[in-house]
Amino acid sequence: MTAALERAYLELLPSARQRAESGQPVVGIVGRDVPAVLVSAAGAQPYRLGAGRQAAAPSAAPSAAQSAAEATAIMGGAVDRAALVLLAEILSGSLDFLAGILIAHDCEASVRLHFALQELYRRGSSTIPVHLVDQVHLDRPSTLRFNTHQLEAMTDVLRSWTGSGITRDALESAHAEHSMVRASLSDVQVARRTRRMSGLSALHAYAVGVGSSPAAALALLEGRERGADTADALPVFLTGSAPIGDELYRAIEDAGAVVVGEDHDWGDPILSDLLPERLPAELPDALRELALSRLHGDPASASSTMAARAAATRSGVEATRARALLSIVRPHDEAPLWDWKRQRELAGVPHLEVRGEAAEDPSAVAAAIGELRAAS
């Protein structure tokens, strides 16, 4: 299972490109707030863009340095590197097969990425159209109405990109498929919490679950052995910045810990945006349910209060029976820095924050695990 998942993780980009070449539109998604089920219902494959993964594609390699420099010139250096890496990957041309990119308003870096791509497209410097799905996050009726309208606008955009409107049958079918993938990902969550699966494999599984066609994801996720026994490793709950690629998880787990849960939007929170078993038949009602599911999902750092984040961290530590809390925060990812005060006060387990340049240094991360092991 572990090796198969890793292979599938590494093959996400070529698989998506192959699908596009075979004639099915593939739509890129940035952020957890974009409901992938609508992309499927519009007849396209949703492909969740993860910073650091597209760079693995050989076609991207020759121009990687040039694209990185260009991305920094466009967005400036004072932005979370995840957005810079993603923009560089888009500029490299490795994603030119996409019919369009939907970007969530989940953090400032995503908004800046949207502005950059919108301007590049308007100026003719990019061939990929882009649309911001402006889901905002206060739990108020006014916000829900606005978010529902945003999803209506997203369906119009999808129609223009794919040529297919969303029918009731298509939505039901997509919902059923996505629900099955979620069920499989829930099994993954159980496996890692019972120490039968590493955090690295779980990260790969989540990426495959949201980056492949539902059918392909199911084939990989269902009915497999769950791999390594991680009972001897220090169970760590991870908070802070969403990882770029999978190197961070490797560094943590190579140092003698296992990531048993996390609160970034590539991990467990994907499962918290609960959909009803059956979506309402009318599209506007279904869109409202989709908007509501995200509003009531686990709080993301950049779009929720410090109090909500601290409570969610505490719940996560308890649910996963983590024995340590590790926060890793990249430069220019401001929100997790603010969360940390209340998170550590509520954690109930030894905790450590690695921030700044050290957050991307595997030896610094390994040292942090050493400290946590000593304290636990």
Binding site: A73, I74, M75, G76, G77, A78, H105, C107, E108, V111, R112, H114, F115, Q118, E119, R122, L132, D134, V136, H137, L138, R140, S142, T143, R145, F146, H149, Q150, S301, A302, S303, T305, M306, A307, H332, D333, E334, A335, L337, W338, D339, K341
Partner: protein, 410 residues
């Protein structure tokens, strides 16, 4: 020293007003701390005093108390290198009495802000560590491309700039804020009073527009931006009052008189410069430093220009009209394509020879502003620094960069 009587009068008014606010707070009167991007007009209409967060940050910075205030933020357990402009007021509460500017900011009862960026909401939530302080948040929605030149559309056709849904959301939030304040203060909101406030603001901003147009057309320039900034911004923080409207008229009349008298900033004006970005409150003399040697004069800052173009709104429903003023006010300054188009229009209108662009960490789209200006044939110097964090500023280096840039323009 300021050359404008209207700037001196505004500063004197602000000191007297703040002393009264301190006294009222000491007597138990509730007041609000409001971020500049959130509507203040509802507070004005309900006679609830308020302090604008960015104004207080500018005072803290000008009084060289920013670094110490940021230390106060760190002592509270929060990062001192994030959202410095937003967080200075919180940090300044920890200053000793003899270090606190103007006798110090009293404790607010309410804090109000838009959830801009990733951490502004958290900055304001941090105030609520004191359980006597409550926070009202506005959503921050994202700019859409306008259907035309926004400066022509916004006074009457704001939907075509910001989109109907964004305005409706903020209008609903305005109604929520009114209920929230009524519950907590016992005061009643009167729509007719808000209409009066909105009328006064349109008068004030129309006067600012006339002042901006006078300065744009004048050769050589009659006033420094370091003078017009306080003369515009202090009345802006009192928007909706008769005093603010009258102060805007006095500024307009004073500028017109200076032009009529042939008054000039520089004896020999050879270069006209534009300052894009927030003001360098810690050293406003920087704007004057190149006048004598290079004949280089800053003729433009965003403060008068955004007052002229960004605030005027004419509508029948004051709640919605207010939403239309605020829903995209920061978009106009920073988001592409709105902001780049506007800066080019203003640069051309003022006949500038070069632009100094202060790029802070927390603003999007800066590169597209620079690019648009350069494509319009206007040289740009980018300076990357926070105007509110002296630790990120090297005054000597900035001055040297500007000297090189200005020297190259000549």
């Amino acid at each position: 020293m300021t050359r404008l009587a209207s700037a001196s009068a505004a500063l004197a008014h602000q000191r007297a007003w703040f002393r009264d606010l301190q006294q009222a707070a000491a007597d138990g009167q509730d007041f609000a701390l409001v971020n500049a991007d959130a509507p203040q007009e509802i507070l004005r209409a309900m006679d609830i005093p308020y302090v604008v967060n960015q104004w207080w940050a500018s005072i803290v910075t000008a009084k060289q108390a920013a670094a110490q205030s940021l230390e106060g933020v760190a002592e509270l357990g929060y990062p001192d290198d994030s959202r410095q402009y937003d967080v200075l007021a919180l940090g300044s509460r920890s200053l000793e009495a003899d270090r606190a500017p103007w006798g110090g900011l009293p404790k607010p009862r309410f804090v109000i802000a838009e959830l801009s960026g990733d951490a502004t909401g958290k900055v304001f939530e941090a105030w609520t560590d004191d359980p006597a302080i409550e926070f009202f948040a506005y959503e921050r929605t994202v700019a859409i491309p306008p259907e035309g030149p926004w400066w022509d559309l916004v006074p009457h056709e704001w939907d075509r700039v910001f989109g109907r849904e964004r305005i409706e959301l903020m209008a609903e939030e305005n109604r929520l804020l009114i209920e929230w304040l009524e519950e907590r203060t016992g005061r009643r909101f009167e729509p007719a009073r808000l209409e009066q406030v909105m009328d006064l603001i349109n008068e004030q901003e129309e006067l600012n527009r006339q002042t901006r147009d006078l300065i744009a057309a004048a050769r050589p320039t009659p006033v420094r931006v370091s003078d017009t900034i306080p003369a515009v911004m202090i009345p802006q923080w009192h928007r909706g009052s008769e005093w603010a409207r009258d102060a805007a008229r006095e500024l307009r009349d004073e500028v017109a008189a200076l032009i009529a008298d042939g008054s000039t900033v520089a004896q020999d004006e050879r270069l006209r410069l534009m300052w894009v970005g927030r003001g360098l409150w810690g050293d406003t003399s920087l704007y004057r430093r190149f006048e004598e040697e290079h004949g280089a004069v800053f003729v433009w800052s965003m403060y008068l220009a955004i007052a002229a173009d960004g605030y005027i709104r004419y509508g029948s429903d004051p709640i919605e009209t207010l939403a239309a003023r605020f829903v995209g006010i920061t978009d106009l300054l920073y988001a592409p394509p709105l902001a780049p188009q506007w800066y080019v229009k203003e640069a051309k209108g003022h006949g500038v020879d070069g632009v100094v662009h202060l790029v802070a960490d927390d603003v999007p789209g800066a590169s597209f502003i620079t690019l648009a200006l350069q494509e319009a044939g206007i040289p740009v110097l980018e300076i990357r620094a926070s105007n509110a964090d002296p630790r990120t500023l090297d005054p000597g280096a900035i001055e040297a960069m500007m000297a090189d840039f200005i020297g190259g323009l000549g």
